[in-house]
Symmetry: C2
Subunit: 173 residues, 2 copies
């Protein structure tokens, strides 16, 4: 069975990085709870939104993300039973391409380069299961779609949902 796993907000805590950046720059105390149902930039005053967008293009942003809790342990276990591919819609951020490679080398070295995909649209993927936090990626996938909970998608319906990597382990192991 082929299992595709998204990176941002599934393996790597992009959302948390946006919040940390915002709090550091503006001396605020924004939390994930404050942003539920939207993107981080949508939860801050208008005149501060562009700085969050620009931050993604800065050198080091994608290299310095923290792994999502328990993702490494569970993916290592899943790797014994599934053909795992890490599939990230990275082409939007050219600066992220090499950084994502080195991030995976650090945290998921047991998934070799042959099993890494940096793409734009994900509807060209052929496989059995996709774990992703974005509705538009999941709805074009022909196999089983698992919506990984992120603050931005708490109001998204119509998909089998996993809230944590513990949930993924319960379902797939």
């Amino acid at each position: 069975m082929t299992l595709f796993i998204d990176m941002d907000e599934v393996l790597a805590d992009t959302y948390g990085a946006h919040i940390r950046f915002y709090n550091d720059v503006y001396n605020e105390s924004l939390s994930k709870k404050d942003c539920l149902g939207g993107e981080v930039w949508q939860s801050v005053p208008k005149e501060r939104q562009s700085s969050i967008h620009e931050h993604c293009y800065e050198k080091g942003f994608f290299r310095n993300l923290k792994p999502i809790e328990n993702s490494i342990e569970v993916v290592r276990e899943l790797d014994k039973y599934y053909n795992i591919y890490i599939a990230s819609a990275a082409m939007q951020f050219p600066n992220s391409l090499e950084e994502k490679h080195y991030w995976l080398e650090e945290y998921f070295p047991f998934i070799p380069w042959q099993q890494r995909i940096l793409c734009g649209n994900k509807h060209i993927l052929k496989g059995d299961i996709l774990i992703d936090d974005r509705k538009y990626n999941l709805e074009s996938f022909e196999g089983r779609s698992l919506l990984f909970t992120s603050p931005h998608n708490v109001n998204t319906n119509g998909f089998e949902r996993v809230n944590t990597w513990g949930d993924v382990a319960s379902l797939l192991l």
Copy 2:
């Protein structure tokens, strides 16, 4: 119809770049004809082979490749009738990821980032047609496979072959 197009030796002349590099460094006059049926490194003396491998990892190698003859014109025409995705097995060369992005921005800007894929294995691609120079990419593809001629594959059989972008135009336009 979804059409996948490989980069190295289909859109970008990697083979020619290896030969130019070799001739420059060793003051030789190796040609594509001298290498038919093998890789460039296989056609040079043993003690010089590793320098060709190492060259691929040098900054600028993938950024400075020349487009294959007529590739831009024909892909621009195909783009009117097909959903085109450029799919490159780039993950082997981390330094190539960003360079390939900028190379495509220069020569194929009409194929947007949403339609670019940098991957390892290509058997996760779901679509109708794949144009590639490597047997191992084509044989795992479920759709129509077109083998694009490169000096290294002249003895490969079992695939519908296109020798030039003119051939591709005749078949697909």
